[in-house]
Each structure stands twice: as structure tokens, then as C-alpha cells.
């Protein structure tokens, strides 16, 4: 007797990643040898002292259980169920969760999986940090890698697509997601960490992670850190001069509480583009502090992951996932690319006219876990990232401290 366990409705090992939002899964009898009637099985997580934890659900909104009993038809039809990570118990490495399917005491099958969410960069374990840094360096590949497209997407000439209008948050959510998926294609255990710029982050600005700046603003790396080979625009290295003491102080920004209190309407919350977003950028000298050069510094992506996380937190606090709800997004027409039904450059491939002259990078990278948002996302596709309104709009990422429901 054998079973097949599908995570995220896929048999691909690369699909074995879950987050707080429920992932659609199924189990079926792939080989009924020895069974004469439907088989009663129990799904549970193999006990482990550390690492991630998951729970099972009958339906997307059913209550979470530590184990689930299902009856598998002899004919091999799949029986659906849902998996969710236990909030606060994310994985620390690939496959540190094992889901077992038992019939009585007999283990019919098991799969390893990972509760993969975006975490506070200052709290990553050393291996988590090293895997992230390695994937990033590999993607840059000494300036000759795919990162060049991301560099070209965020410049002064392309900035109207992404800034100064309501699409600011959705555009950057797509941008980060695209990068994260590229990194996951290199190492699928990686999730983009975020930099909480309103708190000291002593573990982030170190030679082993994003580098330590000298007084001139030149960033130094440990000899074991592959970011020492970082090259953008043909020039190696990173310039970043913090105007605050990175070990003990936060950037010169308003706090998270203040940001979340900007207002319960999207238009009010959008003021965060100035402070904390703009102020986080300009709490440094160096590339990160100018729009045209900001994406040359890997810190950009951690800074923006926090901007995105603040939006996610705000969405959770006020229930602002539904694009149909007026308060979830700006009302009234905005420039192209900043309205809910608009597609976003460069993924839409549209050039000329009001859009930039070229659209480097092509489609938004696909995920092996979820289908949304597709290759050419629209602004509206970025709102319901957890699938809180419609399960199929799940984007496949979560933040360690933003719950699902």
C-alpha cells in the first residue's frame, strides 16, 4: 500500500513550502495493494524539537488541528486538505518539518517540507543568513547575472512607474516577489529577510551579512561572504554610509506604531512613502540614498521588505485586503500603472508612450507553490497576498509577525 502526498497541489519537491496562509494539499492511495476497502489514515507532523510546525485543516477556513483523519478511496481519488504553518513557529531550514501519513501504526508515506516566511534580518540564524547572502551573490554573479535586470528596473527614468502615486506599495511588492522567486530558484529555502529600520539591527550591518561601512562609506565584507564579489553597473563593491550608529540606534524614521497610525484609509497610509520609507533611504549616504542608484545596494531589498511588511501589517489591522473595498486602495484615477486594473511595468512588457522605453527582465518569475499573480501582474493582484479574500490570489509569502486571520 502506498500513498501520494501533494503539497500545494503539486508533486514537485520544489512546491513543499507553506506559510501562515492555508496551502491546498491532497493525499491519495497511489497503490491500494493489500487494501480491500477505503483506507482510514491519519496525517500528523512527525515530532521534532526544533524547526517549523504545521497544522492541518479540512477546508481553507476550518479550524487548525494537530492531526487529521481522512478516508482514502480505493480507486485512488485524491482527498483534499489544507496545511498551515503555526504562527511563530517558522522553519529554520529546508525540510525541517515532516508530515506523515499513517494507517494505524503503519507509516504509509511522509514528505519533508518547510514553513518558509520572511523574517527579521536581525534574528536570522547564521545558516539562514548565509544561504540568503549566497543566493543573492549568485544571482548577481559578479555583475553578469540576472540581478542586472532588477538594477535596470529601478532607476530615475523608471521611477514614475513605482513612486509618488498609489502604485508605490503594489509595485514594490511585485518587485520583491520577483526577486525572491529568483533567489528561490537558486536556493528554495530562502525567503527575503526584512530590515526593521525603526530598531537597531546590530546583526545586519556586519561583515558576514550586509557588510560593515567604514568612515568613507565603503562597505567591507568577511572573506567568507560572497557579497565581496558584488558588482553593479560594472563597478564592484557597495557604498553606504549610515548617519546613525547601526549597532545601537535605529534609522531616522518614524516608528512602526506611528506608521500604522497614519490612518485607516490607504490614501492616509500612503504617506509612509515619505517617512519612514524615504527617511530610511536617506538615513545613509551612498547609493541607497538616491532613487537612481538605490537598487545597487542589496540593503534596498531588505529595506523594502520592511516597507512591504508595514503595509501587510496595516492591511491585517484594518482588513484592507479586498481590492473591492474603497479603503484598501486609493480612489480616483491616477497615472497609468497606479490604478487597480492597470498592469504593471516592466512585467507587462509595455514600452513607449507613458511607459519607459524598455522593459528589462520580462515576465514576473513563476512560483512552484502558487499560481498568482501570473506573469503580468496587475496592481489589484498585489493586495490579497495571503488569499484572505480569494484563496487563489495567495502570492506565496508571509511575514513572521503578520498573522493569517
Amino acid at each position: 500500500m502506498q500513498i501520494e502526498l501533494r503539497i500545494n497541489d503539486s508533486a514537485d519537491p520544489k512546491a513543499r513550502y507553506v506559510s501562515w496562509a492555508p496551502s491546498p494539499c491532497s493525499v491519495r492511495l497511489s497503490d491500494p495493494t493489500g487494501a480491500s476497502q477505503p483506507v482510514q489514515v491519519t496525517l500528523r507532523q512527525k515530532p521534532a524539537a526544533t524547526g517549523g510546525q504545521v497544522r492541518f485543516r479540512d477546508g481553507p477556513s476550518a479550524s487548525a488541528k494537530t492531526s487529521l483523519s481522512l478516508t482514502l478511496p480505493l480507486a485512488g481519488a485524491p482527498v483534499p486538505f489544507f496545511l498551515t504553518g503555526v504562527f511563530g513557529r517558522a522553519s529554520v531550514m529546508d525540510g525541517d518539518v515532516t508530515v506523515e501519513v499513517r494507517a494505524g501504526t503503519q507509516v504509509l508515506g511522509s514528505v519533508p517540507l518547510m514553513v518558509r516566511v520572511r523574517k527579521d534580518a536581525a534574528k536570522l540564524t547564521a545558516p539562514e543568513r548565509d544561504r540568503f547572502v549566497a543566493a543573492l551573490a549568485k544571482f548577481n554573479d559578479r555583475g553578469a547575472g540576472g540581478f542586472a535586470a532588477f538594477r535596470a528596473m529601478h532607476t530615475d527614468l523608471t521611477s514614475p512607474e513605482a513612486h509618488g502615486a498609489p502604485g508605490f506599495l503594489p509595485w514594490h511588492r511585485a518587485y520583491l516577489l520577483d526577486l525572491e522567486r529568483e533567489l528561490q530558484a537558486i536556493d528554495s529555502s530562502v525567503a527575503l529577510p526584512y530590515w526593521r529600520f525603526d530598531r537597531p539591527a546590530p546583526a545586519l550591518f556586519t561583515p558576514a551579512f550586509l557588510g560593515r561601512s567604514d568612515s568613507n562609506g565603503t562597505v567591507h565584507f568577511a572573506s567568507t561572504n560572497p557579497l565581496q564579489f558584488w558588482v553593479t553597473d560594472g563597478v564592484p563593491g557597495i557604498n553606504r554610509r549610515p548617519f546613525f550608529v547601526t549597532g545601537t540606534a535605529s534609522a531616522n524614521v518614524i516608528t512602526e506604531a506611528q506608521t500604522l497610525a497614519l490612518g485607516n484609509q490607504y490614501a492616509q497610509f500612503l504617506r509612509m512613502e515619505g517617512n519612514p520609507h524615504g527617511f530610511a533611504h536617506t538615513s545613509f549616504g551612498g547609493s541607497i540614498s538616491s532613487i537612481d542608484t538605490a537598487a545597487k545596494d542589496p540593503l534596498f531589498f531588505l529595506l523594502h521588505a520592511n516597507v512591504d511588511r508595514l503595509w501587510a501589517k496595516w492591511q491585517r489591522r484594518f482588513g484592507r485586503f479586498d481590492p473591492a473595498l474603497a479603503a484598501s486602495f486609493a480612489n480616483g484615477p491616477s497615472r497609468i500603472g497606479h490604478n487597480l486594473p492597470d498592469t504593471m511595468w516592466p512585467w507587462n512588457g509595455i514600452t513607449g508612450g507613458q511607459r519607459p522605453a524598455t522593459a528589462p527582465g520580462g515576465d514576473l518569475a513563476a512560483s512552484s507553490c502558487v499560481t498568482a499573480p501570473g506573469a503580468k501582474p496587475k496592481v489589484r493582484d498585489m493586495l490579497d497576498f495571503q488569499g484572505a479574500v480569494a484563496p487563489h490570489s495567495q502570492l506565496g509569502f508571509d511575514y513572521d509577525d503578520v498573522r493569517f486571520a
Binding site: A134, P160, H163, A222, N225, Q228, F229, E273, G285, S290
Partner: protein, 317 residues
């Protein structure tokens, strides 16, 4: 129709400006205690603008108001000009001027909205590019250099050629010139590599030359010369990998095999091989794998051991 609409808007703008101005300054003082922020953020742009520009208020209060104005200092021409005036006024306290600069910079991120103020902003930056305040000057030159501003590049180059005229230390000037590969800074950078005023300047000159294909021999030479500081040699490894990515394997391999090599360079070589090496070729390179195995348990530094472990995780699973 269009003209009418514009006129209406202009009238509305004027009206709101008058309203802002007529608000008594005393009442505008933003309270900095918890909870006050949200209220301040919600309806009192005028109060914040007034506070930021009010010379009668304390510097800290004004700095706070500038931060709370967020990206909106350009929403009103009067406020924008007031903030530019703070930046340009050499008599204003340094902290206040820097805060004005940061607020302006933050606003530049809203590119579309900011574009109407951009020419004046750049003009103001150029006006303070030679300001007596070094910190301000340095930040401003950095901003202009990242705009690939020709006049700024000229100032930086002039300063490198004639240190008496220099606005910033040579290492800073070189770093800023590095934002534009087309800045024609290579001749002066080569001269500084030969005759550096200080080690930081030499390092920045090397970083600048990293984009110059013709300078590859300079880096080869530094890499071969074990008398050069490890920092420069490590930089040379990165640069050669960038200028000639396919040379990586050979360079890195050589360093890993060389027992007289500096530990930092060996660790860097191991890192390069682990991250960018060709799986097939390295797995088949028995001599290399064996040597790395010895390094893992040898007398080398922790970095070398760590690098060796990662190398073996990848190439000898």
C-alpha cells in the same frame, strides 16, 4: 476648459496657502509625546510646515517637524522654498540644515511629484556644494555625483589634481567619481594608485579602476605581489573576477593551493570557488578537493576552515 480648470486649481492653492499662513504659530507646536504623532500626521500639514520654517522655535522641534512633513514638503511652493532656504543658509544650525536636506531627499523618491521642484532642488544643491560645513558638503556632492552631474565631477577631478582646491578628501572624491564610469577619472586614479596620499585613497582608486578593462594588469600585479596589503589583494580578486569572470577558477585555485598565501585570500578564494565555480570541473579536481580537506582541519584561521567546510559541502557531499 483646460485653462479654466487650471485657474480654479491655482485659486484654491492660493486660498489654502493664505489659510496656512494665517494660522497662529503658537498653536502649531507639535507635541512629541506618544499618540500626538498620528494627530499631527492627519490634518496639520500647515502646522508642521509653519513649525519647520519658524526661526523662533527650537532646533529640535523644527527638525522633528521636517521629519513629519515627510515627502510632502514640495506640496506647497512656499514650504518648499522655505526648506531650500534653510539648506542654503550657512548661518542655520548644521543639524537643521542636514534635516532639511534629508527631508528634500526623501521627497525626491516621489519622483513624479518631485519633478516640478527638481531643477530648483539641484540648483540649491550646487549652491552649497562648496559649503564650509564638511558633512553637508560631502552629502551634497554625493547626491550630485549620483545624478552624474558634470559640474560636480569637474570639481571632484579638480580637487584630485590640485589638493588645495579639494572639497572632500581624495578617497571620497574617488568614491563619488565611481558613480559614473564615464567620468574620465581613470588617469587620475592610476596616478593615485602609483603614488597614494593614504591607503584609503589607494583602495578607492583601485575600486574606480575596476571598471577599466585596461587596468586588468594593475590588478594582476597587486594580486601576485604578496607584499601588498591583503585588503588590496582581496579587492584585486573581486575585480579580476568582474573584469574576466572566467579567470576566476584559475586564480582562486592557485590561492587555495598555495600554503604561503594569506588566510584571508585563501578564504576569499574558497568562497569564490564555492559560489561561482563550475561543479563538474571542481568535483573532478582531486588535488584541489584533497587540499581543501586538509585545510578544514589544518592550522589556518577560522575563516579558512569555514570556507573549506562550505566548499566540501558543495563539492564533496
Amino acid at each position: 476648459m483646460g485653462a479654466m480648470r487650471t485657474r480654479k486649481k491655482a485659486t484654491a492653492r492660493k486660498a489654502s496657502k493664505t489659510k496656512r499662513r494665517s494660522r497662529p504659530k503658537g498653536k502649531a507646536k507639535p507635541k512629541r509625546k506618544a499618540g500626538a504623532h498620528a494627530a499631527a500626521a492627519r490634518g496639520s500639514y500647515a502646522a508642521l510646515a509653519a513649525a519647520a520654517l519658524d526661526p523662533g522655535l527650537g532646533v529640535r522641534q523644527r527638525i522633528r517637524a521636517l521629519a513629519d512633513l515627510s515627502g510632502e514638503i514640495c506640496d506647497d511652493t512656499g514650504t518648499f522654498h522655505g526648506v531650500l532656504d534653510i539648506l542654503r543658509d550657512a548661518k542655520s544650525p548644521s543639524g537643521l540644515r542636514l534635516a532639511a536636506l534629508q527631508a528634500l531627499q526623501a521627497a525626491t523618491f516621489s519622483a513624479v511629484k518631485f519633478s516640478r521642484s527638481r531643477p530648483e532642488y539641484l540648483t540649491a544643491l550646487r549652491a552649497v556644494a562648496a559649503d564650509p560645513d564638511l558633512e553637508l558638503r560631502q552629502r551634497v556632492l554625493g547626491l550630485l555625483a549620483r545624478e552624474r552631474d558634470g559640474s560636480t565631477q569637474q570639481k571632484l577631478l579638480d580637487g584630485l589634481k590640485n589638493p588645495a582646491k579639494a572639497l572632500v578628501p581624495p578617497e571620497k572624491a574617488l568614491q563619488l567619481l565611481g558613480y559614473d564610469v564615464h567620468a574620465d577619472a581613470y588617469p587620475v586614479a592610476r596616478r593615485i594608485v602609483r603614488d597614494p596620499p593614504n591607503p584609503a585613497a589607494k583602495r578607492e582608486a583601485l575600486r574606480l579602476l575596476a571598471a577599466d578593462a585596461a587596468s586588468a594588469p594593475v590588478f594582476e600585479e597587486i594580486l601576485r605581489n604578496k607584499a601588498e596589503p591583503a585588503e588590496f589583494r582581496q579587492l584585486s580578486v573581486s575585480v579580476l573576477h568582474s573584469l574576466a569572470p572566467r579567470s576566476l577558477q584559475a586564480h582562486a585555485r592557485e590561492m587555495v593551493l598555495d600554503d604561503t598565501e594569506d588566510d584571508d585570500l585563501r578564504a576569499a578564494g574558497l568562497t569564490a570557488l564555492t559560489q561561482f565555480g563550475e561543479q563538474g570541473a571542481i568535483t573532478a579536481d582531486a588535488a584541489l578537493v584533497q587540499r581543501v580537506d586538509r585545510l578544514k582541519g589544518g592550522k589556518g584561521s577560522a575563516m579558512v576552515k569555514k570556507g573549506a567546510r562550505r566548499f566540501l559541502d558543495k563539492y564533496r557531499p
